[in-house]
Structures are given as structure tokens and as C-alpha cells.
Subunit: 213 residues, 2 copies
Amino acid sequence: MTPRSHPQAERLHGLYVILDPGVAGERDLIYMAREAIAGGAHLIQYRDKIREKGEQYAIAGALQALCRENGALFFMNDHVDIALAIEADGVHVGQRDLPVAVVRRIVPEAMLVGASTNNLEEARLAQADGADYVSVGRLFPTGSKEDTRSATLEMLHAVKAAIAVPVCGIGGINESNIAGVIDTGADMAAVISAVVGAEDVREATRRLAGRFS
Amino acid sequence: MTPRSHPQAERLHGLYVILDPGVAGERDLIYMAREAIAGGAHLIQYRDKIREKGEQYAIAGALQALCRENGALFFMNDHVDIALAIEADGVHVGQRDLPVAVVRRIVPEAMLVGASTNNLEEARLAQADGADYVSVGRLFPTGSKEDTRSATLEMLHAVKAAIAVPVCGIGGINESNIAGVIDTGADMAAVISAVVGAEDVREATRRLAGRFS
């Protein structure tokens, strides 16, 4: 199968901020998204393993509207049904969520699909199954997601060299190590704690997003 | 809005067995579904608050195939995306899941949609929003689902009298109280612990399903 070439593919570039209430705690997600976009985030993802789906649906709808008004792309994590319900720009699935090929089958052609991968084989398979981008991680130690497998900057570089769709580094990325991620040729760098755990979300985002030329 | 009149509506009748690994424990869900259908269950629902969605997808696909081969209807609880992916007969949502009107908008016309309700107002709204049936509960004390509101047999009867779509009693129903549920005029009785907690699933189902004429 030929890799997908999505008309929005060029927007899959820059700082990718993941809003996870498991990390953000009680802080308002809409506020944080607004601050992150003002700080230069190009992509926003909502990942919620806590709230019931009805509440997530309302939050996701507000985040999608905010992103659309401000030129950022919005991705819903895991819940393809919520992505469909709010007509999200995209949906992101992990290796233990619905398979990429299944997601591709039940979402509109225009919806972006991202996939978490850990190695070359998973990245190639995700691309073949119709992913519009793949993330590669966990690159550095992180407290924000349990039970993840580790990956290296070398692996990130190897994936970038091996596949055609954009690639995103993820896992423990912060101000002190983001340069190495960008140096691999990765199109995007996903951050969680470095932004949603920062006192000044906008400033933290600005410092990280500024590393992308 | 006119209540939906689904071509399969007449099949919304009889014993409705909910497979919940939170109650069933380590017991094999496919085995239990097979036994329940052999015992006379007309409808099977898969409700899983434990497993990741990829694993649920595989199990749901197997349950749907089993039900289809054996003339039972299969419903996926909560996860509309899994229901879409496996082309389930139906999907069932609670008050804190995706709203019925939203679900109706993202599933095919032919897919049955069930909704949990607790009172007349919720039942009428669910019907107006396009539900093909409503459940009413929790009728009796139950250990299988936390944080539910109680309802009475009188409320179940009142809902049955007030709406056009089929009605299902739920919550703590067992051999000792199912007759009262059926006496209200309810079309279906949903059981969880009484079947999936029974040593002999087929026999437990047979005794309960036998109460429906």
C-alpha cells in the first residue's frame, strides 16, 4: 500500500502538546490549550484516561473549536467515536487501542490518523495500514505514562529515514533534550509534562516551540 | 420526533445478559456467551471497564459473530467506535457516555441504540433522541455496578406506559424477583451477576429466560 499523502500533511510539523489530566491535574484544559497555542504549539492532543466519555466529548468539542479558530490541529487520543462525533482534525491510537487499519476504515478519508510506535517494524506497519504520521518513543524517562517501552534517538532517526509519513518524537522531551530530537530529522516533538506541568504554560511552550525553525 | 420503529424492534424481547468482566472475573466471555445463548438469552451485551480497547475489539468481534450465528442480538456497551468497527447489531450508552443523539448521528441507521435511564424524563428524552430501547434501573440492590441511582418497579411500569420503544428492567434482577419485572410489562430483563456469577451459566439462564412467554 502506498503511504498516505494527506493534503494537511505539511501541518504535521512543530511542537505537539498533549493535554493529559493525569499529568495536568485539576488545571483547566481549555485554558492550557489556549496558552499552548499562544506559545506556538502547532498540534494539540487530548488524552484522558480519567473522565467518562460524555464529559470528554464536551471538552474535546471545545478544544477542537479552539484549535480550528487558531490554526492548530486537534487530535483525540484513543476514542475514535469522540473524534467522529466532534469531526476532529485527527485521532491518535496506541498499540493497544483500535488497530490503525480498523480506525482508517471507520473514519472519513479526510481525518488524520496518528499511531504510537516503538520500532521500525511497528512504524512501517502503521504507515502501511494508513497512518498519516507515527510517533516514536518513549525517548527519555517520563512519569506521565506508565508501562511504556523505551526507544532511542537513533531509532527515531532510523524510522524517519525508513518511512514517508511525518514522524514525531515522544516521551520525556523537555527544554534540555528537545534539540537532540529535532536533530534526528523528526517533524514533530510531543511534550506532556514539560508544558502541562509548567507554571507558565505559554512561556514553556514558547521556549520549546521556538526550537523548530 | 417520532419514536424510531426499527425493523428488528420485535427482537428486543426476552432475557438480556450483560457480560461484565468486573463481575465475571477471569471466566471466558465467549464460553459464557455461548452457554447463555444455549440457555435461552435473546440479547447479549459486552461491558468492559477493564481491558484496553484493542483487546475489547477482538472479543467484541468474536461475540458478535457468535450471536449472529445463533440468532441472538449483540450490543457493545459505551464504545461506539468498537460497535462501528465490528458492525455490531447495537450499542448501549449510559447517561455519562456519549449522548444518544450524538451516537445516532455517527452510527448507521440500521444499528440499534439502547440507553440507560432512571426516570420518565430521561426515558422520554432518550426516545426523542433516537433510542431503539431504554433500560430502567437500578431496580434492586446490586454489587455489579457502583454509583447507580435506584428506580422502582412502579417507575419501570410508568416508563413502559409512557413510551413507544421497548423497555428493559435492570439492576439486581435474579430468579427471586424477575417475575415482578416481567409483570410491569417490560419487554426485557437485563441480568449480570445472576448469570455471569452462576456456577452453571446455561442452567441459570434457562431458569430466567423461561419466565418470558
